[in-house]
């Protein structure tokens, strides 16, 4: 499937395409570049904060996004596959019933790409389920 497996594989073009496709996170804006800062992703994720730079836009676009990628280790990823699936299913099936604010979901695409939006347009996480290889 055509999606980034690591943060190094994320491109401005891919980021632009995803944001334009997900509930109007951006309209005609284009992600020109971004810088990445590693965050503590615990035992299951490779997590980074991306600070986005737009070549055009209204100023209302998300300033940062947080890609939450499945850990880049084949053995660990295989062992944690159930956890990735569980988190994805949480957002799909019961998030709306929890009654606790969570990162708002931008789009879901099962077994491919998950994008979560949070903190009033300033924070977004992308979870890529790599269990299907």
């Amino acid at each position: 499937m055509d999606f980034p497996r690591t943060v190094d594989e994320i491109t401005p073009e891919w980021m632009t395409k995803v944001l334009r496709a997900t509930n109007g996170a951006i309209l005609d804006a284009t992600v020109e570049s971004f810088s990445a800062e590693g965050l503590d992703g615990g035992i299951i994720g490779d997590v980074n904060r991306l600070v986005l730079v737009y070549s055009s836009g209204s100023g209302a676009e998300p300033e940062t996004v947080v890609p939450k990628l499945a850990i880049n280790d084949d053995e660990l990823r295989g062992r944690r596959a159930g956890l990735y699936e569980r988190e994805v299913k949480f957002y799909d099936l019961i998030n709306s019933q929890v009654g606790l604010p969570t990162p708002a979901l931008y789009c879901t695409e099962h077994d491919k790409i998950r994008i979560f939006h949070s903190f009033v347009g300033r924070f977004m996480a992308i979870s890529v389920n790599r269990s299907d290889g």
Binding site: D40, G42, I44, L83, Y84, R86, E87, F90, Y91, I94, N95, V98, L100, P101, T102, P103, S118, F119, V120, A125
Partner: protein, 198 residues
């Protein structure tokens, strides 16, 4: 103090921990913990986050007022009622001294509020049942204090606790003793509840 330890040396170091903390029954904590684990399997269950520590909870002010966000739902599933609130408290008792002191002051209030919100949501569990689920999560980390003292400095658990506490060596040992003195009563309360609830 942190050389690789044989069983006889474990007894020595536990005795020293008992002396420095002034807390009795440290050598029986493993049995008590087993009782807790056995007992919580019988508790009523609810949907839990199951990793509800303070780093997975964000708080911020927004236009409509303060909002608390929760992330990292990879462990969601059924678990003992009360468990998530206990994890939130426990995540404080294992971190900095100031955070541990704060949790010591407010954990009772946290539990009371949790119980009240459960009731509002329509759950009518007995207080002791919820309290045991709550304490069971905290008991894991309190037991960890006693286990950590029997390990070498290189053990992952010791490194983790030491990093969270922000101290090493004898200072770490003294911090374990202090925290046992502060929080062992919660562990003892959990063990008492397992006997009361059967």
């Amino acid at each position: 103090m942190f050389d690789p330890l044989a069983d006889s040396e474990n007894e020595t170091v536990i005795a020293e921990l008992t002396r420095r903390s002034g807390v009795n029954g440290i050598d029986n904590m493993l049995d008590g913990f087993t009782d807790i684990v056995t007992s919580i399997a019988k508790l009523p269950r609810c949907v839990n986050h199951n990793d509800f520590h303070s780093l997975n909870v964000f708080f911020r002010y927004e236009k409509q007022g303060p909002v608390t966000y929760a992330i990292d739902w990879a462990s969601i599933g059924l678990g003992p009622v009360g468990y998530d609130c206990g994890t939130l408290a426990a995540s404080g008792i294992i971190r900095s001294e100031n955070e541990a002191r704060l949790i010591a002051e407010i954990e009772g209030h946290m539990f009371t509020e949790y119980l009240a919100r459960l009731s509002e949501a329509g759950y009518r569990h007995e207080r002791d049942v919820v309290r045991l689920g709550y304490l069971s999560s905290i008991a894991v980390f309190i037991t960890g204090y006693a286990v950590a003292v029997t390990m070498t400095p290189e053990a992952p658990a010791v490194k983790r606790y030491s990093g969270w506490f922000g101290v090493e060596g004898d200072e770490f040992f003294d911090e374990l003793a202090l925290r046992l003195r502060t929080f062992k009563p919660l562990f003892d309360e959990a063990v008492s509840l397992t006997r009361k609830l059967g």
